[in-house]
């Protein structure tokens, strides 16, 4: 079965990770079963987003058939600056989506800069993947409140609410047609409930691959342990991400 992972990170210098070239990372990801991956910065979520957008793009330059690089910006830099960086990431770097992590980046979803940034990302055709499930900045319904204001932008709850807020993520997904849930980090029994209650065309596989070895394989197994049908699994693993961002380009 083809599998596109919609939640992976480029290991950098933070979180005790070990940086490695894209060829090695690709090799690891393929060995764990992936056909392609949406790849986010790790270091850039802690600072210097523009520099880290450059690093990510350069790192995967020879592997764009496998990796879809996502940029990041920080709304605390102001909406204008963030939007300029988004434009640069699209036109100059050819990046394909936006990753935001309000917890690590320390901004509230109610910051006035967030809405224009999300609207602009949507206009560029960037899906926006959020870390979610962690109060006080990234509860699923905080993100949903903004998703409601930018209906043309695809918003991905990158952890489907995690174990404490997955019920809220389900509500958000049921209410807003621009919200997708990435089944990354939510436990296996809760994944089953999400699959039962959400439109399958808006569910995505994700693993946080890049953070630890064998994480991708384990999280693929978690989906396979559910009672989801083979056709639903095909949607989650491949058809849905492929519809949002075709790989290879």
């Amino acid at each position: 079965m083809k599998i596109i992972d919609t939640h992976t990170h480029l290991p950098g210098l933070s979180f005790g990770l070990k940086p490695r070239p894209a060829s090695k990372l690709r090799q690891e990801f393929e060995a764990e079963g992936l056909t392609g991956a949406w790849l986010f910065t790790t270091d850039g979520l802690l600072g210097e987003p523009a520099r880290n957008n450059d690093i990510l793009t350069e790192t995967v330059a020879e592997h764009r058939d496998f990796f879809a690089p996502f940029c990041t910006v920080n709304p605390l830099d102001g909406a204008d600056a963030a939007i300029r960086e988004l434009d640069r990431c699209k036109s100059k770097l050819g990046m394909r989506g936006l990753k935001l992590h309000p917890w690590l980046q320390a901004f509230s979803m109610m910051n006035p800069a967030v809405e224009p940034v999300l609207a602009h990302a949507g206009a560029l055709g960037f899906p926006v993947v959020f870390h979610d499930g962690t109060p006080p900045y990234t509860s699923s319904l905080q993100i949903a409140a903004l998703a409601e204001k930018v209906p043309q932008t695809t918003i991905v709850l990158g952890h489907a609410g995690l174990d404490d807020l997955f019920e809220d993520a389900i509500l958000a997904c049921q209410r807003h047609s621009n919200i997708f849930l990435c089944l990354c980090g939510v436990s296996c029994g809760h994944i089953e409930q999400i699959i039962h209650r959400c439109p399958p065309e808006r569910l995505l596989f994700g693993s946080d691959g890049g953070f630890a070895s064998q994480l991708i394989e384990l999280r693929i197994d978690m989906l396979r342990e559910t009672d989801a049908s083979a056709s639903v699994l095909r949607q989650i693993f491949y058809a849905n991400p492929q519809r949002l961002l075709p790989l290879p380009v």
Partner: protein
Amino acid sequence: MRMPLIIDSAVCLRNPADPALVKAWLDQMARHGIAHAVIAPADGYAAVYNEEGNTLLARLARSYPKQLSGLAAVNPWLGPKAVSLLEKAFDDGLKGLFLCPPRQGFRLTESIVDPLLEVCRQRRKPVYAHTGTPICCEPFQLAELARRFPQVIFIMGHAAYPDFWYDVAAALQQTPNLLVETSCQGAAIIQQAIDAVGPERVLFGSGWPRSKPGIEIRKIQSMGLPAATLEKIMHTNAMRCWGITP
């Protein structure tokens, strides 16, 4: 690597009186080679219907003494009645106290839980606490409680999954009577806990039905632990902690 005998310290049964649910869990045990499981009350039984839930679990444990043990849930807000309910549950054979602050509506550090912990101290019963949900059951809150009752064994349920992973090892280091249970949490964090305080304070849990035994066993297998360490985590520590001999 071949898995040693498995004791599962983290199972919830939504309704211990439902034969289909019980059978489903026993099937899981057989399928994954789990010799014994410690069952906690879930949902309404943890929050409100404590006596009913405890009685059902005690009955279930008596029906399957080789395979199952039970924990008692008592809502601390019941005051003096909570103490008598807990005494009764222990008299009925339940092996420890299950605390679920998000369901029971208190913070681990609140003194209303102290009378229950005093019973646990007197009866030498361990306390398993759900952890990982802010603001009521964080690792350092449980460590604080463990320091307040140094003679009681406390278990950090689900290793504070999802977002308090960075506190797990440091909280364990604060007090020797705090153990950690492995379900849901990532292998790297379990390894950090082992490195910080040794494998003697780590208990395997499947987290059923929140997680699944196959996934949780594979996670531990993937860590490449030495056989002696694996034996401690998969059963020796649990036997000592809960006083069970499968």
